[in-house]
């Protein structure tokens, strides 16, 4: 009889899988209540490191062409597809759901990534505009990524929920620091392995595991975080985080209830993490004598 190689789940930060600088861990149990794994209890320092990594990742990701970003997000779907059986087993173990339900969740997560892969090069056309201003200027408005988004992943649907909150954020060209659902860090870090092999530049997605109530306040107050997604928080924590976010005028998305991730995703998550930039450029006024229309 051979002994299985037990897996150590770590963080996913800057494209690598570091342990916490604090050395802290917590025990994760499976659906039956038995020990499943030790997971990292991320610290404030880990959160700060993740923000530094995200800012770096934002640089290359936001400058990549939309076509390229779409290809990379599609590549995540490919990698998830190839590891579909592993995720099905993981969901059965961690959530105690039946095989059909687990398979349905993984398939839905793959479809979600494919959906967003097709958005990257259409955002500008759909949410931007050429504005007919009443003066000789060419004037256009185009969406741009907000920057670094801190995301608190939802507790239900550990894979589909995670993918549904990450995909729209990175589709718009943002980088993110995600706090995984406390009960399912193994699913989240395994998804980190998918990301790590998907040509996503290092730092674009960073996944912290641990206690949201402990980590999130630091991210909400962090001056280099531009936006918050409060999907995975309860009302009390959400309020505290919104208060903290005001210190740096962060953009905040908070769903109106428990999102139904099985439904079509809509565009509100995409739009919540985009800025609209308006550019004015003279078209000149050739008919004016002297032509002094700067």
């Amino acid at each position: 009889m051979s002994i299985a190689v037990a897996k150590t789940y770590k963080l996913y930060v800057g494209g690598t899988f570091p342990r916490s600088e604090s050395g802290r861990t917590y025990q994760v149990t499976d659906a039956g209540g038995s020990f499943m794994a030790n997971a990292v209890l991320a610290s404030r320092k880990d959160a700060r490191d993740a923000v530094v990594a995200a800012r770096k990742g934002f640089g290359s990701w936001s400058k990549a062409t939309p076509y390229n970003r779409g290809q990379v997000i599609y590549r995540i779907a490919e990698m998830l597809q190839s590891r579909q059986p592993e995720f099905v087993e993981l969901l059965i173990t961690s959530r105690g759901v039946d095989r059909a339900e687990a398979a349905a969740e993984v398939d839905a997560a793959i479809d979600r990534l494919v959906h967003f892969a097709g958005w990257t090069d259409k955002l500008t056309a759909v949410f931007g505009s050429a504005n007919p201003v009443s003066a000789p200027y060419f004037n256009y408005s185009a969406p741009e990524p907000t920057g670094v988004v801190a995301v608190i992943a939802p507790a239900d649907a550990p894979l589909l929920g995670l993918v549904s909150v990450i995909a729209p954020v990175i589709t718009g060209g943002n980088a993110c620091v995600v706090i995984a659902a406390e009960a399912d860090p193994c699913v989240a870090i395994t998804f980190g392995e998918v990301l790590a092999t998907s040509d996503v530049p290092a730092g674009v997605v960073n996944i912290l595991t641990g206690i949201a109530a402990e980590i999130a306040p630091h991210l909400a107050a962090h001056a280099d975080v531009n936006a918050l997604d409060l999907t995975g928080t309860d009302a009390e924590l959400a309020r505290d985080l919104e208060v903290a976010a005001a210190g740096t005028v962060k953009r905040v998305y908070r769903p109106r209830g428990r999102p139904d991730f099985r439904a079509a995703p809509g565009t509100v998550r995409l739009r919540s993490f985009l800025e609209i930039k308006t550019v004015w450029h003279p078209t000149g006024a050739p008919s004016l004598a002297g032509g002094s229309s700067y």
């Binding site: 505009s129 201003v133 919104e242 005028v249 509100v268 609209i276 308006t278 450029h281």
Partner: protein
């Protein structure tokens, strides 16, 4: 510029050309507008000052919290009652009526605004008031086309919007807050600034004449405490604020956890970047417009001039020559380029920051244009030798004070321009189109002006990145702030 030496007998000065104050029809006393009626407010009267002369202009009755409650309740009744049952097309007709009403009374409004705010009549007459009318006209047309905005076929209004606006563009801000709110189907309680309440109350007359249902628009008056009471009022569904970043943060904190929608249009420290290949005369005009328009009391003012080193000396010389020709003085004089600062408080703040610039070692130049004996005036001021860490380069001065910094490469310009928590406006002067476009793409600001500055249009979204706020005003993106566009399904 030195005066002509050929003939000292010719006086080249412009004769005064003052607009008639009577056109403004300033009344002795103004009342807040609640539920379709002008009522005596329960608060203390406030005296609004003509900043061009430092003299009382008129008295305004202010509201107390009970009046505020009544205003919010009236707005709710109007929303539940006639307004939300009206078709978009009918709503639009009311907005068209307001647009026409503003246009008809534009000369009166221009004079009134100039008297109350201190800005030159040429600005109120040629920019503020025409743009006010245009905002109502533009948004009127959206009222029956909301399904075409791109946020789904049937976006819904939010309900009652509370709006707090500043003193630098009193009527323009009222228009660009009220017009989209009504077009989207909301009702409004709006509070103009304490120092500039008059034009919004004349707008209320125009709205009353347009026969809008009572309560659709309510104008409440008072100081910051009434503004604070309005934004925290539980009867609102939406808060829109334009003003300082400090107050904006406070409002965001106040609304935390309430689920109420918020848009913030806050401060800025706009970078105006001039490359060596720029058309220099046009650039000089743009720099002057960027910082001396409305005496620099503009959130998107081009208050930091970044000049490429090879042309720095020439540009600064020409800029100083041009600025020296600006006529500072009586806001009602049609020849005035730079009017009064809006209030003594603001005058003090500008003076404090200018003194800080001198103390920190920047070289100061001030226009020699004589200033009136009375009123709040500041000479156009240019600091050279400013560094990134000086207060004049970091803090929003909100006055006619420009800080000049030099750069060598485009990357250095970008790094310096983006080195601020603000992100409202930026500009680039270059004759090379690809450089202009590349800079526009990498500047962290909501509005980029290439080879121009301070251009606005209701069709063009305006608003900031980072600590300059969130949400846009104007265009489809602006209307989104007054509509429920959240299309994420939730588990019932």
């Amino acid at each position: 510029m030195s005066p002509s030496t050929e003939s000292s007998s010719i006086d080249w000065e412009y004769a005064p050309a003052p607009e008639s104050e009577a056109i403004g029809r300033v009344k002795d006393r103004y009342l807040p507008f609640i539920d379709g009626k002008f009522i005596e407010g329960g608060g203390d009267d406030l005296v609004t000052v003509n900043p061009g002369r430092d003299e009382p202009l008129s008295t305004v009755s202010t509201v107390d919290e009970a009046d505020l409650d009544n205003a919010v309740r009236a707005a709710r009744r109007a929303y539940d009652g006639p307004w939300s049952k009206l078709s978009g097309a009918e709503r639009g007709k009311y907005l068209f009526r307001i647009a026409r009403g503003v246009a008809e009374r534009s000369r009166e409004l221009a004079v009134l605004e100039s008297l109350d705010n201190g800005k030159p009549i040429k600005e109120t007459r040629d920019f503020d008031i025409p743009t006010v009318a245009q905002h109502f006209f533009y948004h009127a047309g959206w009222a029956d086309k909301l399904g075409h905005l791109g946020f789904g076929p049937d976006p819904r209004p939010l309900g009652v919007a509370g709006q707090v606006i500043p003193w630098n563009f009193p009527l323009l801000m009222a228009a660009w807050k009220i017009a989209p709110a009504l077009a989207a189907g909301n009702t409004v309680v709006i509070k103009p600034a304490e120092t500039t309440p008059l034009s919004a109350l004349v707008l209320a007359e125009i709205i009353a004449d347009a026969d809008l249902p009572p309560g659709v628009v309510n104008v409440v008056t008072g100081a910051g405490d009434i503004g604070a009471a309005l934004v925290r009022h539980p009867g609102l569904d939406k808060v829109a604020f334009t003003g300082s970043t400090a107050v904006g943060k406070q409002i965001q904190r106040t609304l935390a956890g309430t689920g109420r929608r918020l848009t913030l249009e806050l401060g800025g420290k706009g970078a105006n970047i001039v490359f060596a290949d720029a058309a220099i005369d046009q650039a000089v005009e743009g720099i002057v417009n960027g910082i001396f328009f409305n005496s620099g009391q503009v959130c998107c003012a081009g208050s930091r001039l970044l000049v490429q080193e090879p042309i720095a000396e020439e540009l600064i010389t020409r800029l100083i020559e041009r600025t020296e020709t600006l006529r500072v003085g009586d806001p009602l004089d049609k020849n005035t380029d730079v009017g009064a600062i809006n209030s003594r408080d603001q005058w003090n703040k500008i003076t404090e920051l200018t003194d800080a610039g001198i103390d920190e070692g920047a070289q100061v130049w001030r226009s020699s244009c004589p200033l009136p004996d009375k009123g709040f005036f500041v000479s156009p001021t240019i600091f050279t030798g400013a560094t990134q860490t000086m207060r004049i380069a970091r803090e929003e001065i909100f006055g006619p004070v420009l800080s000049v910094i030099t750069f060598r490469t485009p990357d250095e310009a970008l790094a310096k321009a983006n080195n601020t928590p603000y992100g409202l406006s930026a500009g680039v002067w270059t004759e090379k189109g690809s450089r202009a476009m590349a800079m526009a793409a990498r500047l962290q600001a909501g509005v980029i002006w290439d080879n121009t500055w301070n251009k606005f249009d209701p069709a063009a979204p305006f608003g900031g990145y980072q600590e300059s706020g969130f949400g846009r005003e104007g265009g489809p993106a602006g209307l989104a702030g007054y509509l429920d566009t959240d299309d994420e399904a939730v588990i019932k």
